[in-house]
Symmetry: none
DNA sequence: TCCTAAGCGAGACGGTACGTCTTGTCTTCCA
DNA sequence: TGGAAGACAAGACGTACCGTCTCGCTTAGGA
């Protein structure tokens, strides 16, 4: 019972993906209409509805590739350590962000993409927790999920800060800072004698 | 040369504010039309446009009151300390969130309110930085704004986690946890011998 | 290279035409909204704008059919004579008016249809002049167009008078009267000895 | 029980009259809003409603002056003759039109003023009939009112033609032409041997 | 290699919300 | 008391976008 997907279908979906990704880099997500997408993709508006039910559906489908790529990259390097336990580990994330700078900047800062924003934190937190369970980290007296969210929130915030300030530091530095802020706290991270 | 604001105007704006705040607690922000708002407020649709240019404008105006309240509360208690430097300080935030639970839950989790989400982090970070400057905290070798964002992201994430898990801990506990995670880091916060 | 007009389009336009013609017979033209027309035509309001830019455009389009009918009828009978030169000729006009009584009554008397009113005189005058040129009528010392307007004004007025007085005379009588008033003048038309 | 009309009221009405008369000379009657009129008159919009119920009411009130003037002028000169019985009589009409050229041009040709257009013919016809009755004109076998309308339609048409063609003839010539067309008919008016 | 089901373009249409415009009413305040 | 100022309800306007549909044409891929 083979699925035999028409090559035209694949082509059409690719065109739609490329169109929406190109468009969100250009202007506000909410201002983009399905008409705009299909025009850019050189397709008929009705054709859109043969493949997706909404802009959101297409966007999620289009972004999946990117995030899956990153997650696979991370999981390959995680060796029984909590995700922030190793600066090198986090460094990959910042490097990946730097490579896909335009996309991340858009996704993290655009108004209409709010639901992506919050999913991202949730997504990172879930990933963190998964890794912590695998690494059998004990977190008493705090629950593991709280720690996961703490780190996810911090990571998200640092990435946002980094992009908004035009990446003034190297990925290494950012990763090391995150590592320190999370593991040994702000007091130590800021050096002796501070505060 | 007094401004002489018509009492009707104030009344109308209050009705609109109450209407939109009530509606976002009931259903998806994007699904709310201006027609819905004015109907709920018992006003004519055209009247809306005499006061606001869009749903967003009204929402921001309506939320301001709440957040300003919180900020004033915090600033009154901050005595030359960084905002997370004192668990009691943060406790106020969690208590405030608990009191306005329904609103925060909606604002932090609803899809269409994404731009609020990211503004909130930005807002907290800016507040943090302001306080750090006032407290003359030295942050070498990390820039103060990075620390601000780190703490803001963490606070945001912990509030989200807290609300999503139906507030399983007291505001005191949450504040103390945040304090520890931020100041002395995850290792210490999680107790000796962990990891 | 045929035009390929969608049958649905024709159907839609017919529905709109019928709707507006029915409505102007019922009530004041100005009081009719596009909403009214589309409701009567069982169509969506937006659909109206796919076909016409305004009520006026639709009305003109709808009336054209009627007037073209009359003009064709007249031209078929005109044999090198000026249009009022033959009572039988004009008789057709009055007969046609009688048959489409309700429509003419409305078009000639309704306030909002003023621009139709004046176009009608202009329209008749132009027709007259065209016929006079064809018939090579010499009009010295008066210009042909002045004569055309004179007769058009008279025809228009007599039709109005006829309808307003509930058609007290037969089309034949009206046509003969118009013929006499125009060709031999009021003195002769009113019989010998008058005045 | 004197009426004590405030001088301010008269002033206000005059301002409104002048405003609407000025405006119809400038642009389409329908495009003129009450807002426009009151702005031009340097009055508040609400004030309009203290004096008139609609644009139409104001316009009729404003035009009355002009037409009454003309009628008085005509009646003063009519000495028991039917109104078209004397070329000199009609000449006054054309002269009056020429003097108030801009106004007549507007009133007769503007779309939205259709109801004025048809009232004008009705008005002239009624005047004609009144004069015919006074002059005890016998019109057998045609009814007097039919004759009145015939002449009114012709007069209206000739005035329209005259204005549309930028008044190529003198009032005297127009009056004489109308006289001939109406009294002795087109055949005679166009000279011997024509047709 | 044909043929048949699918993908797709074109575009009409119903539906919904938009933001704007004009009207008419009302209230408050001033001269 | 007449008018200015302006808030508001009411409702039509023309536009924009959506999602659905129908009608053909083209073309891929199984027979």
């Amino acid at each position: 019972m083979k699925k035999k997907i028409d090559r035209r279908v694949l082509r059409t979906r690719r065109q739609l993906s490329e169109a929406i990704l190109a468009l969100i880099l250009e202007r506000s997500y909410e201002s983009i209409t399905i008409q705009d997408i299909t025009e850019r993709a050189d397709l008929n508006r009705a054709t859109f509805y043969l493949h997706y039910g909404s802009k959101e559906e297409l966007l999620v489908d289009s972004l999946e590739t990117h995030f899956d790529e990153l997650v696979q990259l991370l999981e390959a390097e995680a060796n029984g350590e909590p995700p922030w336990g190793n600066p090198l580990h986090m460094q990959r994330v910042f490097e990946y962000v730097a490579e896909n700078q335009a996309l991340f900047r858009t996704v993290l800062s655009q108004q209409g993409l709010g639901y992506v924003t919050s999913s991202v934190i949730r997504y990172i937190a879930a990933y963190n927790e998964r890794q912590m369970v695998l690494a059998q980290v004990k977190t008493d007296p705090l629950p593991a999920s709280m720690i996961s969210w703490h780190v996810a929130g911090s990571l998200f915030a640092l990435i946002s800060w980094w992009l908004e300030n035009n990446m003034p530091y190297s990925p290494e530095f950012m990763a090391r800072s995150l590592f320190q802020l999370c593991t040994v706290g702000t007091y130590s991270a800021m050096g002796e004698g501070s505060q």
